[in-house]
């Protein structure tokens, strides 16, 4: 069983009291417990079981404008005492930073909505095994599938965030995740692909045969890939990949990278950064949302933000410290975005495929070729060549490159948004990208 609210609160208040007694002017404590149980299968037999029970505490002590922090997994009072003493000693010799402070009191969340993020259902390992058996049976129907690996994880978490201004809140959340990775082989090639499902509630996850079938289908389609010649092309990014551009965007508008001057979107507030059909929303209060939050990691209330409307950048993601630096109020985004998404575009998926006679359809990228300082983008890619709306053959061992400043203005979105992750995008097309191949 995960630790209950009472236990977590008692640990938090022990730390608050002790730090105050030592002379700390402000204190903030986060204490949490998370238990997860995973069962993994490989080629239709049990491969691994893994149970994880993790406690974690993080304490920040302030002395005026001086601040330092400690974290630990050992919640025995005696250990906490040693650590808090050490933390406060460190705080004393850390230099002043005028922007250090707890969040403004009036911004703290006071109305905690129930977002239905916790499902108390427990699925026994034997039941997980049944699910995975069915999944792998379906995944391996086609003889070209030579290896299947799948896993089922149930996770339950609870946490409390408390600070010396009287904030003390927390909530439970749960997730149920199943995934399947398949390997297909023929005389010419061996390829791997996957599918997964992750939800707050057990009843919402995809059924096992559908998951297995999708993974196998993705993988078999990739056999016999070709390398194409270097070219300027329009690229369609599958939903798995298009959401990555939103994550890069979120990183670039975090108050921290703006304040440090290390973002290609610095000084772009109220300016067009996307084509004028693009809207980006960050919605924290989505019921059962994978990125939903009742407050941010400092306790600040979170409202829905329309980050981009008609292509124009409206907001940064602001936390207390960097907000003070930029002379902005925190908008409850310490810890980043919540449920971040592009609103649907106007074109349907099939029409998007037909929009050019030759299109590269990307299903996977590899490498870390995203430079948020310059906006330069260059990654390895796999996918398909699409001609006149039809998938012709799989493509691999190529790279795709561009710069976000131009790429963002060349985005066309389909109208097939769904909420599968915490960051979600419809299928996306970007014109005029450089493909390097043969």
């Amino acid at each position: 069983m995960i630790k209950d609210e009472e236990y977590l609160k008692s640990k938090a208040s022990y730390c608050l009291d002790l730090a105050k007694k030592l002379g700390a002017t402000d204190v903030s404590v986060t204490v949490g417990n998370s238990i997860s149980e995973t069962v993994s299968f490989r080629n239709k037999v049990l491969d691994e079981s893994n149970r994880s029970d993790s406690l974690a505490i993080k304490i920040e002590t302030y002395l005026g404008k001086k601040k330092s922090s400690i974290s630990s997994s050992n919640l025995l009072d005696e250990n906490l005492k040693t650590l808090i003493e050490k933390c406060f000693e460190t705080t004393k010799i850390t230099p002043n930073d005028e922007f250090n402070s707890l969040p403004d009191k009036e911004l703290l969340a006071n109305n905690i909505k129930d977002l239905n993020l916790y499902d108390q259902s427990h699925i026994e390992n034997d039941k997980k095994i049944d699910y995975l058996k069915e999944l792998e049976e379906t995944a391996s129907i086609d003889k070209k599938i030579i290896n299947t690996e799948s896993g089922f994880t149930e996770n339950k978490s609870n946490f409390i965030l408390a600070n010396s201004d009287g904030f003390c809140n927390g909530y439970k959340s749960s997730s149920f995740t199943a995934s399947c990775v398949t390997v297909a082989k023929n005389e010419n090639s061996m390829e791997r692909d996957y599918e997964f499902t992750s939800k707050c509630h057990l009843n919402d996850i995809t059924n096992p045969s559908e998951l297995g079938e999708t993974a196998a289908k993705h993988t078999i389609k990739k056999l016999n890939p070709k390398k194409i010649g270097s070219d300027k092309l329009s690229i369609i990014f599958d939903k798995r990949i298009s959401k990555g551009f939103l994550s890069s965007f979120a990183g670039s508008i975090s108050a921290s990278s703006i304040a440090r001057g290390t973002s290609f979107l610095k000084d772009k507030l109220n300016q067009p950064i996307f084509s004028n059909s693009i809207n980006v929303i960050d919605k924290p209060d989505l019921i059962k949302g994978m990125g939903s939050k009742c407050f941010d990691s400092e306790g600040v209330k979170t409202d829905t933000l329309k980050l981009v409307s008609d292509g124009i950048l409206n907001n940064y993601l602001v936390d207390t410290y960097n907000g003070k630096k930029l002379n902005l109020k925190s908008n409850g985004r310490s810890g980043g975005s919540t449920n971040l998404y592009f609103e649907n575009g106007n074109i349907n998926y099939d029409d998007l495929l037909k929009s050019h006679s030759k299109i590269l359809y990307v299903t996977e990228t590899i490498g870390h070729g995203t430079n948020l300082v310059t906006g330069d983008y260059s990654v390895g890619a796999t996918g398909f060549l699409v001609e006149d709306g039809e998938f012709k053959y799989p493509v691999n061992e190529i790279t795709i490159a561009g710069n976000f400043n131009e790429m963002f203005k060349n985005i066309t979105l389909a109208n097939d948004l769904e909420f599968k992750y915490s960051v979600n995008s419809p299928t996306m097309m970007i014109d005029d990208m450089t493909v390097a191949g043969k």
Binding site: P95, I146, I398
Partner: protein, 470 residues
């Protein structure tokens, strides 16, 4: 050495008893205790931005029968927690029985000292160095707009208890010192990053004002990039500099030679043992025994002493890297490559320090032989798709080569290649093998572990460069 049962209701005898009972019908398994202390101190934007100290204590209990691994971990060290874990393991393995192998090789040299690097330098002294770095760089060059410098240090103590009461211990220090600088000139911004580290005290790495060299290197990379032009796109010849660019070896070859992917036959290398996978003259080893290196370990995380494993000898594939589980199932021995990020994770076969050994040619000869290509000196990260064998890595400092001469610097770009065939495209191997500066972290299955790489300069006849200029 940590006493893990201090302040708990456990005695060593209790632990031995629970471990032996739980593992009696299993093929393998152990309990792994870990106590880690770590710190990170960061200077950013002219200020000490954060100073964090962390202490983590916990155990991971593992039981293996046949191919099935049962694992349970907790950070509560008590009789109750251990018993719960034991029950959890038993319920997974139920009727799957094995025969425990009590044999474990026990000798090795120690490759680092039992120090706690965090305690060896005062916080005040660390803050002073970080402030000196900031002042030095900002005074040195007016185009410097941002400086980030950090110390991170840790001491990890582990104890592995196997069935029968056999215990193995290790104390592992690790530090890293990092500087990143951003320049801005004529509206253009570029960054340069450099770091050093390994399994010694901070001062070993910082003596003789060595922090200045780290600053200079970060500044040099950023300055080169300020003048860079768009990188070319397409297939061409690539000369790689010595040292850190060996992450090519790590991605292209290393991961594909880890035992688990080959037992499962999901690696592009699984049926290539004994075959020619590289040009003649190419020898690659994975070595966990180099004194005080970031990727070195006295014993691995299953208690097996590390070794120098020859992976490819003169072009021929000789060995995979093995942990105990995959070695047993593949009928071979562990190479001391069983590693885990910490007690929360299962053991996987992983790299340590992966190195391509020197050949006879010079970097000059390589450059002169290239009509059109690129010379890549410094890299960010890399990644590989084990199954298709395709891998990438990102240049952070590179130049064009035209008619045998090094030309202008080019913007960062991703290079992509095919693991099983790339080493056959190596046509020259340099005589200048160099270790990396001690900053690598390898990710696999969500677990990060410290690793090292080394190589001489090499010439690759054909690789795809992912620039924007056609």
């Amino acid at each position: 050495m940590s006493n893990f049962f201090d302040k708990s209701d456990l005695t060593r005898k209790d632990v031995d008893k629970i471990v032996s009972e739980t593992l009696k019908d299993c093929d393998d398994g152990e309990i792994y205790f870990e106590n880690s202390k770590s710190e990170s101190i960061l200077l950013d934007d002219n200020k000490i931005k954060s100073s964090n100290y962390s202490s983590d204590l916990g155990f991971g209990f593992r039981a293996i029968s046949n191919e099935v691994v049962a694992y349970s971990h907790s950070n509560e060290i008590s009789k109750n927690a251990l018993k719960n874990s034991a029950e959890n393991l038993k319920s997974t393995l139920k009727s799957i029985k094995g025969t425990y192998n009590h044999e474990i090789p026990k000798t090795n040299n120690k490759f680092y000292d039992d120090i706690n690097p965090i305690e060896q330098k005062t916080l005040d002294a660390k803050l002073k160095v970080l402030n000196k770095v900031n002042d030095y760089l900002r005074k040195k060059d007016s185009t410097v707009k941002q400086v980030t410098a950090s110390f991170s240090g840790e001491q990890k103590s582990i104890e592995i208890i196997r069935s029968g009461g056999e215990a193995l211990t290790d104390v592992r220090p690790l530090i890293r010192f990092n500087v990143s600088v951003m320049l801005e000139k004529n509206g253009r911004k570029e960054t340069g990053v450099y770091g050093i580290g390994g399994r010694q005290s901070y001062d070993e790495y910082l003596k003789n004002d060595n922090w200045k060299n780290v600053c200079e290197e970060a500044l040099r990379i950023a300055s080169v990039n300020l003048d860079s032009k768009p990188a070319p796109a397409g297939e061409m010849k690539v000369v790689l500099g010595p040292g850190w660019p060996a992450i090519l070896i790590h991605e292209a070859i290393g991961h594909g030679l880890e035992g688990d992917f080959n037992r499962k036959k999901t690696s592009a290398f699984h049926d290539l043992m004994g075959q020619k996978v590289a040009s003649e003259g190419v020898t690659i080893v994975d070595d966990g025994t180099i004194d005080k290196r970031r990727g070195s370990l006295t014993i691995d995380d299953e208690g097996t002493p590390t070794e120098r494993t020859v992976l490819i000898e003169n072009g021929i594939l000789k060995n995979f890297m093995q942990d105990r589980l995959n070695a047993r199932l593949m009928n071979t021995r562990s190479t001391g490559s069983g590693r885990r990020e910490n007690y929360k994770h299962i053991v996987l076969p992983r790299m340590r320090n992966t190195m391509m050994l020197s050949g006879n040619q010079t970097q000059d000869e390589m450059i002169k032989s290239v009509d059109k290509g690129i010379f890549a000196v410094s890299f960010g990260g890399g990644q590989v798709d084990i199954t298709s064998g395709k891998f990438v890595f990102n240049c952070t400092e590179a130049y064009e080569i035209i008619n045998g001469k090094i030309g202008s610097p080019i913007k960062g770009a991703t290079l992509i290649g095919d693991g099983p065939s790339i080493l056959k495209e190596v046509s020259m191997v340099g005589n200048d093998m160099m270790m990396d500066p001690g900053i690598g972290t390898c990710g696999k299955a969500g677990q990060g572990v410290p690793v090292g790489v080394a190589q001489p300069s090499i010439l690759i006849d054909k690789m795809t460069v992912g620039g924007t200029k056609l």
